[in-house]
């Protein structure tokens, strides 16, 4: 009891601290450290290859990374609610195939097919979510099943070979950009999309839905007892994840074209990015923008390796070392903070006991 009170007053003191102190403290958490990592990697990449630092080249890099960042934001919703979404890569591939086969060279079909793709994405998420929450099948298994089934269905439908080259108006979403922007020359549409989606995700996580989502991931039973509809909260997280994969697919059609290997392994890349952003597997902890920053940090690292002339086949190895180190460092930090917090909580116990006014601890005195 008294420990809780000191904890609360300590938290209050921290929250009343000036913003720069709070920002510095946030940078020491795993979710903040990824921004430091990102800046260090960017500076290193610019030091190795100065032309990478030019505004035009940087903004094109952001555009190339946008699909992975969007996928990571989608995966974040599912992971922070305590689940996994392995079907993401298959959703990307499926959407790329849908676009390739249904749009063709007919510009007038762009909008209806776009709507169809978004509906399809939401539907996949709905199925994942409902089977996980209502039938109580672990999400790892459900999304593994949708991953196999969706990819199999799409490949069966197209006979295994990717066909079709969607109309230019559709590919412009991934390829084109706003022309004649000062400093940057071209502002690619993917950059606009990822900014809008990141802002929307940031806003959503501050809404009651976002708060409930984190509570559900932290402790689903406690969240259910406070009146949250856990099944519906989690199902919507799955729908957001599949919708994010759909948007990533739409951008990738413009970049990479229609090919069965587009989207392969996206689920693991997205999970890697989310985890690199300090989000804890098992749910309840982490910031959505850190997940997006994790995606950018990962891609900057690959760009850096590229500039250094490292063979591209070593990318996997470096990625493996990085995620193990990042998560190990993250868990050590969480453990150290917990240890550090309990120690002073014991000490002022007697001071608190001397103020017996009941109810006053509600105000945090």
């Amino acid at each position: 009891m008294s420990a809780a009170v000191t904890d609360r007053s300590a938290v209050l003191q921290q929250n009343r601290a000036p913003w720069h102190e709070r920002a510095l403290r946030a940078l020491r958490t795993p979710g903040g450290a990824v921004f430091v990592l990102l800046v260090v990697l960017l500076l290193a990449a610019i030091a190795v290859n100065p032309s990478f630092g030019e505004p035009g080249s940087l903004i094109r890099f952001v555009g190339r990374t946008a699909p992975i960042a969007i996928a990571a934001i989608g995966q974040y919703f599912v992971i922070v609610s305590g689940e996994f979404d392995l079907s993401m890569g298959s959703v990307v591939t499926a959407q790329v195939f849908v676009a390739g086969n249904l749009i063709g060279q007919d510009d007038s079909r762009t909008v209806p097919v776009l709507v169809l793709m978004l509906v399809l994405g939401a539907l996949v998420g709905l199925v994942n979510g409902l089977v996980t929450t209502l039938l109580k099948v672990p999400s790892f298994i459900v999304t593994l099943g949708t991953m196999l089934a969706l990819l199999g269905l799409v490949l069966y439908w197209t006979g295994g070979a990717a066909t079709g080259n969607p109309a230019d108006s559709f590919r412009q979403i991934g390829r084109g950009g706003v022309q004649d922007v000062p400093v940057l020359e071209v502002l690619p549409y993917p950059v606009v999309l990822v900014t809008v989606i990141a802002a929307a995700a940031f806003w959503l996580m501050r809404r009651p839905y976002g708060r409930t989502l984190i509570a559900v991931g932290d402790n689903p039973r406690a969240a259910a007892l406070t009146g949250a509809r856990v099944w519906w909260v989690r199902t919507r997280a799955f729908m957001l994840s599949s919708l994010a994969a759909t948007v990533a697919g739409i951008i990738l059609v413009g970049y990479a074209g229609v090919h069965p290997s587009v989207g392969r392994g996206y689920e693991f890349t997205a999970i890697t990015a989310v985890v690199l952003g300090g989000v804890v597997l098992g749910g309840g902890r982490g910031w959505v923008l850190s997940a997006a920053a994790g995606a950018f940090a990962l891609e900057t690292l690959f760009a850096l390796l590229n500039f250094l002339g490292v063979q591209s086949t070593w990318r996997d190895t470096v990625q493996g070392v990085i995620i193990i180190l990042a998560v190990a460092a993250g868990t050590q930090t969480w453990r150290r903070r917990r240890r550090g917090r309990t120690a002073p909580a014991q000490a002022p116990k007697h001071v608190i006991a001397a103020q017996p006014a009941p109810g006053s601890d509600q105000e945090g005195t």
């Binding site: 392995l86 089977v131 039938l135 109580k136 099948v137 672990p138 790892f140 298994i141 459900v142 593994l144 099943g145 949708t146 991953m147 196999l148 089934a149 969706l150 990819l151 199999g152 269905l153 490949l155 069966y156 295994g160 693991f268 999970i271 890697t272 985890v275 597997l281 098992g282 063979q311 086949t313 070593w314 990318r315 996997d316 190895t317 470096v318 990625q319 493996g320 070392v321 995620i323 193990i324 998560v327 190990a328 868990t331 050590q332 453990r335």
Partner: protein, 336 residues
């Protein structure tokens, strides 16, 4: 209904095995072939061996509350190392096997130490080591390499009656691991650590040992699977593991066998049932010449539906360790 609710998940797994067998007999019979012919039974059992090895190890890893996503790369690495060292010399069979198993066990040791020592989630730790090995494979091997001698290839090709030797080795490994799980201290500690690691530590268990042991055994089993694939193909291949999708399929087989993904509860016997279900469904679809892309659709649906059937069932209970040994030794009496 009451009788149904008393069944443990292991019972249901074997009911599904039976159902699949009946469906297979009918469907294959309708296609004008025999499901129970010696040749076909041998084909089904051959299909169980590779996934069986990996699923045995995966069961242990999942029981201690971890996961192993690095198995496909360990499989590829073991097949390449053994085939490379053997280089078609019968005298090199033993060094080749020993090197492959040693390296596999080493990868398992790293996995276990990262999970138990650095407290990294098993998903991330093994995804990481898997990526590290995958990068090594992609850099150093451009295609199939090495060659296994005829004497070694016989392991993958011969059988006693309709039962292939590889399946017998797999079952022998399963028996040994089952004994370890039910009769030794290490096995009991694995269940304890998977059930609740904090309670296990407070009970005086060295929680690191079971986790490391489970990961080492899992990678060893993946190494054996790699050796078997090298024996079957005659060469080592850098993509054989990833092509098989053994990481996710083995996890699916374990969960299909009734083991909880969160650890602490489950049975190896159930896992073998899960592997058998996969092998029979694959065989039925091959005999009926179903489009290979539709096979994945069927697999995906079967995994989800089967797990949904007993997701809320109780998991096979283990015999009580203390007290009325004679009465509760077998599972049926416990659940009755």
């Amino acid at each position: 209904m009451n009788a149904f609710s008393r069944l443990t998940s292991t019972h249901i797994v074997y009911l599904v095995v039976l159902l699949t067998f009946v469906a297979g007999t009918v469907l294959v019979g309708a296609a004008g072939r025999s499901f129970v012919s010696a040749g076909n039974i041998s084909a089904v059992l051959t299909g169980t061996s590779v996934l069986g090895f990996i699923a045995i190890g995966q069961t242990l890893v999942i029981l201690v509350g971890s996961l192993d996503l690095s198995v496909p790369y360990v499989v590829s690495l073991a097949s390449l190392l053994s085939a490379g060292i053997m280089a078609n010399q019968p005298g090199n069979i033993l060094p080749g096997v020993a090197a492959a198993l040693l390296v596999s066990a080493g990868i398992g040791l790293v996995n276990g130490l990262v999970v138990s020592g650095l407290k990294v989630h098993g998903f991330i730790a093994t995804l990481g080591t898997g990526l590290i090995v995958s990068g090594y494979l992609a850099t150093n091997y451009k295609g199939s390499a090495g060659q296994t001698p005829v004497a070694f290839r016989l392991v993958g090709a011969t059988g006693i009656g309709p039962v292939p030797v590889s399946t017998l080795i797999m079952l022998a490994c399963a028996g040994a691991v089952l004994l370890m799980l039910t009769r030794t201290r290490l096995g009991h500690h694995m269940y304890a650590v998977g059930g609740d690691i904090r309670v296990a530590r407070m009970s005086g268990i060295q929680t690191g040992t079971p986790i490391v042991a489970a990961h080492v055994i899992c990678s060893l089993m993946a190494g054996l699977a790699g050796l078997l694939l090298a024996a079957r193909l005659g060469v080592g291949s850098p993509t054989i593991g990833a092509q098989g999708g053994y990481d996710l399929l083995s996890i699916a087989a374990v969960v299909l066998g009734g083991t909880l993904l969160s650890g602490g509860k489950g049975s190896l016997v159930g896992t073998l049932g899960g592997v058998l279900i996969f092998a029979m469904i694959d065989n039925i679809m091959s005999v009926m010449q179903i489009n290979p892309f539709l096979k994945d659709v069927v697999r995906g649906i079967v995994i989800v539906v089967a797990v949904a059937v007993y997701a809320r069932r109780r998991v096979a209970r283990r015999a009580t360790r203390f007290g009325h040994h004679e009465h509760v030794r077998n599972e049926q009496e416990v659940s009755a």
